[in-house]
Assembly symmetry: C3
Homo-oligomer: 306 residues x 3
């Protein structure tokens, strides 16, 4: 899948490291110490991996100077201060890049939409009126972009993403099947009935935001908390299956997806979750501390009376 | 995005309120007190927003009679008993309405399907054999409707929704990327093995139901609990990312999607969740109460012996 | 929707049961005891359903020999040792089978992809370069299959599924809107900043795996835990809305989707969840046990001093 190949000294240069050994060794990928073969570059993330590194069949290793001296049986190295960071940088070198530009013939694009010449629009994408797609942005198949949505430069929008009532910044990566700007839920209670509030707000996503697969980010009603907009600042990462109903005003990584449990344990966990609403957790901890103090007081009273 | 404009007195009439001030003032939207400009209508939800209302640049305000008297620096009002309800009603007035009807040329519709002339079927929608789509129902792009599914009148089905083995009532709103009627999980245990039960049931959704984005509602097996069908009654709201595997027989709002946590806190929360199955929560609370009683009994015993 | 009809004795033979009564009785489906009509076959899952079985209008019943003797008012039976297992087997007989083969005209398939002649590819499916789809595999509409993905024989891939960087075994069922192989999240911390690690790994799914709707299975970075691949062994079931970020090395059923809560209760539950990170649950249980022991010790001390 990846035809890219690099010489050891070129890779060393990319991470500002020292090339030791066969400078023109051809490497075709990164691999872990255990699975690496002779055309792979592996990295040694500290002394605790020394034994694995000694056994590894990798053609070359990203190491610190200290580690290099311990790996006497190996010949080819990229020596850096921080091997993990160098590895992180090189993953981008070996990543398969999307190089296509242009609009697939099956995409349906409203005449009033403005699509950059350097963007890529995949098969069966639907783009509505007055939309904008910026330079170098890649939109995979089956994406649905509703009227008025604007997307900045250098973005990646994966398949089956749904964008409504939103404005997306630069270098934003939105993974598959995520929904942005669908209608949130607002109700005005009156005389025992709930009256639906149509959500007139929108979602504003800053620059350098990453949003995992199967996330939902609802647009808000207009109210005093969010002034009509749900706003996500620059440099935010939302991991997979997160749900967003409020502003995110501090950069960082946010989550609400739960990883797997074995099914029987999960069923017991959900039973506990159903009890949780009625268990005053923090109060319970305080009560316990209070009781502990009472017991100790009783103990010393009894001791004194001996 | 919204070319609609209304005169103040017309908006007042829509909510059966009193128009005070410039009757022909043109308003183009609703806004919060803070973000409103001169062409916006804002609402004041009680005295605690008085200071914000005084500072607001809104062209007109929805208020109670009492609040109006306090906002001496403003001139234009809609006076009602319940400003929040009036606001809820007017959100529908300013909501962008879908006015298109008919079937996009790229939709694939089985010849045996019956589609109302007043319905709208978006690009790349696929509709199977013997399906029915009622009057004024709007189906966004990329929706997949499998054989035999019936949808009532006045519905909204957003992009990438998947409908299988189900019957949908009138005025049902299903938000993007939700899956209804996919196969639930049933297994018959026998001699240490699990035998899959094919799920022959279906999902029946009543009238005036709203289902958020990225929800899953599985069809059931046929069994004594659900008599072959999973049934959701009228007037149910399912918020985003909810999962439904059982009947809903009482109208109301239901949820199971979790909002965002900061990632490090979330990781600690999930660690606790993994412990939760083995913590007998309600028993623990009872035990604590019992121990409290024991301590108090000890304390009074000791007091008596002084 | 299901034109299949079977004679009672033929159904009995399929489950190696004894046919009692009218051997040529025509049955058109399975139903629960309560909803069954005269052309339905129902099953009696133990004596506790005896009263319901006596009242049932089903044309025939799957029973044990003991149960048959108690159902004196009914005439037609399939007598087996395990009625629930027989029912599970017969659900497959009555299940509507997908019988179409071939490729819909609107599917976009890269010339280098290899599609079995006995596979079915639905409308608007997009299949990338070097993909493989095995015999008898069924792919519903709007599925997106990216470059290099291989799918084995006898699989079912429902609508809006997204497959990237993955290899899928034989007889794998993936329900609607699930995402496999989207990019997981990896960051290398350096000087207070986070550097994104491009995820070069892939997802490998074994044979006989079932994956519910709206699940996310992320591909990993390459690291020592997963050697570049996230691996799911044979015979795994993932229920709806599960999230997978690690290997699954033991066959079984796994979950992380939460079923519905009434909305107000859910809000209280989420408040508790937000406290949970700071409540040392297992420690708390131990502390409670320790305090219980202290109290008992105090009680016996006091008793002794009487």
């Amino acid at each position: 899948m990846n035809p890219q190949q690099y010489r050891l000294e070129d890779l060393a240069r990319l991470v500002q490291g020292e090339c030791v050994g066969q400078a023109d060794l051809i490497l075709k990928g990164l691999a872990s110490l255990d699975s690496a073969e002779s055309r792979h570059l592996a990295f040694v993330n500290g002394e605790k991996y020394l034994e694995q590194a000694l056994q590894s069949k990798a053609g070359a290793f990203i190491v610190t100077a200290d580690l290099k001296d311990l790996l006497v049986e190996h010949q080819n190295f990229i020596v850096v201060a921080n091997p993990y960071l160098a590895f992180a940088i090189l993953t981008h070198t070996f990543e398969v890049k999307h190089t296509e530009q242009g609009i697939e013939s099956t995409a349906q694009i409203h005449p009033s939409a403005i699509i950059s010449d350097t963007a890529y629009i995949g098969h069966y994408v639907v783009i509505g009126a007055n939309c904008v797609v910026g330079d170098d942005t890649i939109i995979h198949s089956h994406v649905s972009i509703h009227d008025g949505v604007e997307i900045g430069r250098g973005g990646l929008i994966e398949s089956h993403v749904n964008l409504m009532s939103c404005k997306i910044g630069d270098r934003v990566r939105i993974h598959a099947n995520t929904v942005i700007g669908s209608e949130g839920f607002g109700f005005a209670p009156y005389q025992g009935k709930w009256h639906r509030i149509a959500q007139l707000g929108s979602v504003i996503i800053g620059n350098d935001v990453r949003i995992g697969s199967n996330c939902s980010i609802d647009r808000g009603a207009l109210d005093d908390t969010i002034a009509g907009h749900l706003n996500i600042v620059d440099n935010v990462t939302l991991t997979g299956m997160s749900m967003v109903t409020n502003n995110i005003s501090v950069a960082g990584t946010y989550s609400s997806g739960i990883g797997l449990f074995e099914n029987q344990k999960w069923k017991r966990t959900v039973v506990r979750l159903r009890q949780l609403a009625d268990v005053p957790l923090t109060q319970l901890v305080k009560k316990l501390d209070h009781m502990q103090a009472q017991i100790e007081s009783l103990e010393s009273t009894i001791k004194l009376r001996k």
